[in-house]
Amino acid sequence: MKIDMKKVGAWFDDRLALTPIFKYMTKKEVPQHEHSIWYYTGSSILLFLAIQIVTGIMLALYYKPTLEGANDSVGRIMTDLPLGWLVRSIHSWSATFMIAFVLTHLLAIWFTKSYRKPREATWMTGMMLLVVSMVFGFTGYLLPWDDLSLSATKVGTNIPNAIPVVGKWVTQFLRGGDDVTGDTLTRFFLFHVCILPLVIFAILAVHILLVQKEGMSVPLEAEVKKKKVPALPFWPNFILREVMIWLVLLGTLLTVALVFAPTLGPSADMMAPAPAGVKPEWYFLFLFQTLKIFPGNMGPVTGEFVAVVLILVAIVAIFFLPFIDTKPEGKKGRIINYLGVLGLIYAIVFSIWSLL
């Protein structure tokens, strides 16, 4: 029997609606202007997410999420498996690159004000993706189960404790008890490889769907002046440019991972005092430092409580930014831009401060 490949192709095309999707991609236009470069940040995040999935599955083949087995299993990955240390390094570095690009993506959208009507929901799903990415990093950090990861997790999961009534419950939920134990490890692993992937895919689907629904934003100035912005088709003009960027990012990531591969300390001792230089991942440093500068007690409440409340208020405010910035082209819009710069400087200064 001879199989007519054309017919097979047509069958799939028909069932999966490939032609309409393809036609859509050729019709979709990406505006070309001086800020167009930032349109590439979103797809770069997707590249790193894909790398996380591939390397994460590879690590999970040999990782053991138990008190006795975790540290040794990561050690075995690093020493016994072909290029296992490189796989681990790529996973760890790709997490860093991914978060860095998520933050860049967010800032670019902040300063170009692309969150303005009708893209409020896109911004809010994006904020959720930021939080989920950071929780990915936080849960992943514990998995190697060495002294540093144990201490960082103790500090991190203790933060909700500062909030009266509900805080204690949140901490106990995160830890699976009053302390960070083997149960915490198992729970974090479950979140890291099962729950968070499901959550991130769900939110990502909505995020990308919204981007398609609204199309790419044009610069605020052009929109106000009703100027026509030149554009290029998404396929192939834009996507080919994207592929070039992916190639460079991939090469850079793999090279950095090769040169700066992470080490692995001995298994954490739950009874030992905290080691010197306990630090969270770099993207938590400014929060870590913020918590540090508040005094123990501030009047009737603890300083930690004030800090946590302030941070929560900031996060909620950023989440609802599109509704706060109701006049992007006016004075208020400009103030919000300055606040963005201020926030960025704050985060950078505090991160550096925490390292001193």
Binding site: V54, M58, L61, D80, L81, P82, L83, G84, V87
Partner: protein, 152 residues
């Protein structure tokens, strides 16, 4: 098709180079992944045991030892020599047990039987138990795959 001012015939050529190169690059990415997913964990070629653990065995007695991740079975023959088997059924990989009273090896999975020399005598097993070679070297007791050769 070729029209004025377009590189379409050239394009086909360029596309094949591009596609071919991308494909080759993809293969070089896949091969380390494949190596990681199928790591070279194999049965050992030989294991070293302490002879003291086995010297006291009586003729006809059977004792276990670890052959990698498989159970090894060591039997002392009537003449005092050792016979080693891999205690894994030749049918579908179950571990077999030594029935001291019957002087037979038994596989409970599908009721397979082997005689005391490891020959398959009843039930589904298609082949005898796999045999290993033994040698006493000073304090050490080596068990090897046949043909693995002694390390001098």
């Amino acid at each position: 098709m070729r029209i004025d001012n377009a590189y379409f015939t050239r394009r086909k050529f360029l596309n094949s180079i591009l596609g071919g190169w991308l494909g080759t690059l993809a293969v070089t990415f896949v091969s380390p992944i494949v190596k990681f997913v199928w790591p070279p964990y194999k049965e050992p070629d030989e294991v070293k045991l302490a002879f003291a653990d086995f010297a006291g065995m009586k003729p006809g007695e059977v004792k276990g030892f670890p052959w990698g991740a498989k159970p090894g079975l060591l039997k002392r023959a009537e003449d005092g020599s050792f016979i080693a088997f891999i205690g894994v059924c030749s049918h579908l990989d179950c571990n077999v047990s030594w029935m001291a009273d019957k002087k037979k090896f038994f596989c409970a999975c599908h009721e397979g039987w082997y005689d005391e020399n490891g020959m398959n005598i009843a039930g589904p097993p298609p082949k005898p138990l796999r045999r290993l070679e033994t040698s006493v070297e000073g304090e050490d007791f080596f068990v090897r795959k046949p043909g693995a050769g002694a390390k001098a």
